[in-house]
């Protein structure tokens, strides 16, 4: 540490300056962090506690809030719409992970040198660039039970029309399929950059030892892609949990609320045209936060472990 090696002659100069000299190294990182910490605390940490607080009240956002204790949570327990949303959230989490292997295989496929490969790569990346709202609209038309492309194609092979977005059985899967399209592209780009960093010597060595095909992929390539996989996992989980725009655009939560997820239900209860139950919305938000907290804790823990191993 620098301040330990300072000559003694400086130590008895003016107190304030001396303190700064002595503590500069220790203090400056905190000074640089201060704006970030301050705003993070104000706009992220504080609202979290605020939602906890609001969830204990009955409040329409206009009048005086009334304290009702745990009543909102009690109501959640008997609310079928809440369980539907929770179930859909789980389906989203599980199926959205398909974007990771999907992205990996497209990346492996595109990781070759052919004329115009850059063009193909950007075409594959395209769905991630366009807005989720546009993706939602495109898929809504695609699924249209009367005029949509999907049902036109099904008719060619003699299958009856499926009302994907109007049928409670298919609706969530239909929306997830729409969401996977851009998400796969995102994972693909992560893997493509990861593949650039794969060590050719290890590939060579593996090849000498007779590894090829799946064994090569599993034992040589994938371990080197671990950082990319981790990031892909993180963004996909977060993407699944904040799936909101697609649902809002494609079904508005319907039919009869069967495609809602927690974030959408929270919005509907608290902020939509027929909503304005701030307390109940906050209670849903708290549940969603607790679910997210599990993942966030896991991510932080694995990052911490990695830092330590270095």
């Amino acid at each position: 540490m620098t301040h330990a090696t300072l000559p003694d002659t400086h130590a008895d100069r003016g107190g304030r300056r001396g303190w700064w000299r002595r503590n500069q190294i220790a203090v400056s990182p905190w000074l640089f962090l201060a704006p970030g910490v301050l705003f993070f605390a104000l706009y992220v940490i504080f609202p979290i506690f605020q939602s906890f607080n609001v969830s204990l009240y009955r409040w329409d956002g206009l009048g005086e809030p009334t304290f009702i204790g745990m009543e909102n949570y009690d109501e959640l327990r008997y609310d079928p719409a809440f369980y539907t949303s929770l179930r859909n959230n789980v389906i989203w989490l599980l199926l959205y992970l398909l974007a990771i292997p999907g992205g990996l295989f497209i990346a492996l496929f595109l990781n070759q040198t052919v004329t115009g490969i850059r063009l193909y790569k950007s075409l594959f990346f395209f769905p991630f660039v366009i807005s989720q709202v546009v993706v939602g609209l495109v898929f809504t038309w695609f699924y249209d039970p009367t005029f949509g492309l999907l049902n036109t194609m099904l008719a060619w092979v003699g299958l009856g029309p499926i009302n994907v977005l109007g049928d409670p059985t298919y609706v969530t899967y239909g929306i997830i399929a729409a969401g996977l399209w851009p998400q796969t592209a995102y994972c693909m780009i992560l893997y493509l950059t990861g593949l650039n960093a794969v060590n050719p010597e290890q590939i060579e060595a593996g090849r000498l030892d007779g590894a090829r095909g799946w064994r090569m992929l599993w034992y040589i390539v994938l371990p080197q892609l671990k950082p990319a996989t981790f990031i892909a996992f993180v963004v996909t989980i977060i993407g699944a949990l904040r799936s909101f725009d697609l649902i809002s655009i494609m079904t508005n939560g319907g039919p009869f609320g069967e495609s809602r997820v927690l974030s959408f239900y929270m919005f509907e209860v608290a902020l939509s045209e027929y909503g304005f139950r701030m307390g109940y919305g906050a209670a849903i938000a708290v549940v969603l936060f607790l679910i997210m907290l599990c993942f966030i804790a896991y991510f932080l823990w694995s990052m911490y472990r990695e830092e330590k191993a270095r």
Partner: protein, 418 residues
């Protein structure tokens, strides 16, 4: 030079007010801030036209009009009423006003309703009244009813039904000819509420319907079940187009335009897109929803759109003058004619435009709706109840077997909300 200019401005102001024979004599000045949800092309032009004409009457008044997207307005109004209130704001009648009235965000303008205005607007006074006071003024309303393809009805020898049996037998004839009786798009739920309103008002009457939306009657009541039983007859016949959950009301229009469905239970605003879609007035006609239970009087849905003065308004004098201007007989006649809103004027001294649908609607509402006039399900019932109930209606239309579970859910919601 200066005095000349002043004089001419004063003369101009005088002549403008005199020429238009305005009901208020003192000149208005300052700023008048208006927030409006009339964002669709025709209503927007109407709103801008009204501001322009009112501005000509009061040249010293600086009018700032902000038009906000109609859907976005529904959520934004909460913010601006409390944080940044304009002098005049659009909204809807009946229970839809309640949250803002209860929170003290709308100004009590009962004084305006005393005297001439109150007489001229008597038909909607009830819809503007909460807690015995009036909280705004109406500017337009429109009828609901069955819009049908007259050419298809003629082709199969069908008449406008007067009773439930004919209503159903007409439908059966159409179905036998591979035509759906009704098109509907329930993606945004409220269209199903239109059907519930009519079926319930025809089965149990207006007073029962008002009590139900007012939370005084259990959803598990046998009379409510009878309404759903009537509805189910239509559903089991296959009267509605398939896959209606996937469509908005506009997306359901092509079925009617293509002749795949013969009728649409809708508000009068559906006429314009149907005409644009190529239906002539010979092909398109209107009838009142027929009686089901002959013992109850006919009642109609006629949603009313309104203007209000927020409690935090700065320029109350100008705001009231604007409201008076909006509801005046001449302005009502003008803004509701076929070239503008194409709806019904609220002022009893206004005249209805020579339009087949407006005339029929006016006739129906003024002389053939003895039971009363409802606003619409999502304006009569509190917003929260409306949401839960309309979801239930949609589910019922797809899975009528779930009716008991749906009604129990609605009943639980009723007990919590009211």
């Amino acid at each position: 030079m200066v005095s000349k200019l002043k004089a001419s401005v004063a003369a101009l102001a005088l002549s403008a007010t005199a020429a238009l024979a305005a009901s208020h004599s003192e000149p208005l000045s300052g700023d008048l801030v208006i927030f409006s949800d009339m964002s669709n092309p025709a209503p927007r032009a109407v709103m801008e036209g009204m501001v322009e004409r009112f501005g000509e009457m009061h040249p010293d008044l600086n009018i700032e009009l902000t038009v906000i997207d109609r859907e976005a307005y529904k959520t934004q109004i909460r913010n601006f009423l409390s944080a940044n209130p304009p002098d005049v704001a659009n909204w809807y009648a009946a229970n839809r006003m309640k949250p803002y009235v209860d929170a003290g965000l709308f100004m009590d303008i009962s004084d305006m309703w005393e005297g001439q205005i109150g007489e001229e607007l008597a038909s909607t006074k009830g819809a503007m009244t909460l807690d015995g006071k009036q909280w705004g003024v109406p500017y337009t309303y429109y009828q609901w009813g069955v819009y049908y393809r007259k050419d298809l009805y003629d082709q199969y020898g069908l008449e406008e039904p007067q009773d439930w049996e004919t209503f159903k037998s007409n439908c059966q004839t159409l179905l036998d000819n591979d035509i759906k009786c009704f098109t509907i798009g329930t993606k945004f739920l409220w269209t199903a509420a239109g059907w519930f309103d009519y079926l319930n008002m025809r089965t149990n009457g207006y007073d029962f319907h008002a009590a139900l939306t007012g939370g005084e009657i259990a959803w598990t009541d046998d009379r409510v079940k009878q309404t759903f039983a009537n509805w189910r007859e239509l559903i089991d016949m296959g009267a509605y187009i398939d896959n209606h959950t996937a469509y908005s009301w506009q997306e359901a229009l092509p079925f009617m335009l293509n002749g795949e469905a013969a009728a649409y239970l809708m508000g009068n605003f559906a006429v314009a897109p149907m005409r644009e879609g190529g239906l002539t007035d010979d092909q398109l006609d209107f009838y009142q929803f027929p009686a089901i239970n002959p013992d109850v009087e006919l009642a109609e849905d006629a949603p009313t759109d309104t203007f209000h003065i927020p409690a935090g308004a700065q320029n109350v004098g100008a705001a009231k003058a604007f409201l008076e201007f909006v509801v005046s007989a001449d302005n009502q006649t003008l803004i509701n004619n076929g070239e503008n809103l194409g709806q019904l004027p609220v002022n009893s001294n206004s005249s209805v435009d020579a339009d087949k649908f407006l005339e029929q609607g006016f006739e129906m509402l003024s002389s053939n709706s003895p039971g009363g006039v409802a606003q619409f399900f999502d304006r009569d019932a509190p917003a929260e109840m409306a949401k839960v109930a309309m979801e239930g209606f949609q589910e019922f239309m797809v899975r009528p077997d779930n009716i008991d579970r749906i009604l129990e859910r609605l009943e639980r919601a009723r007990q919590r909300i009211y």
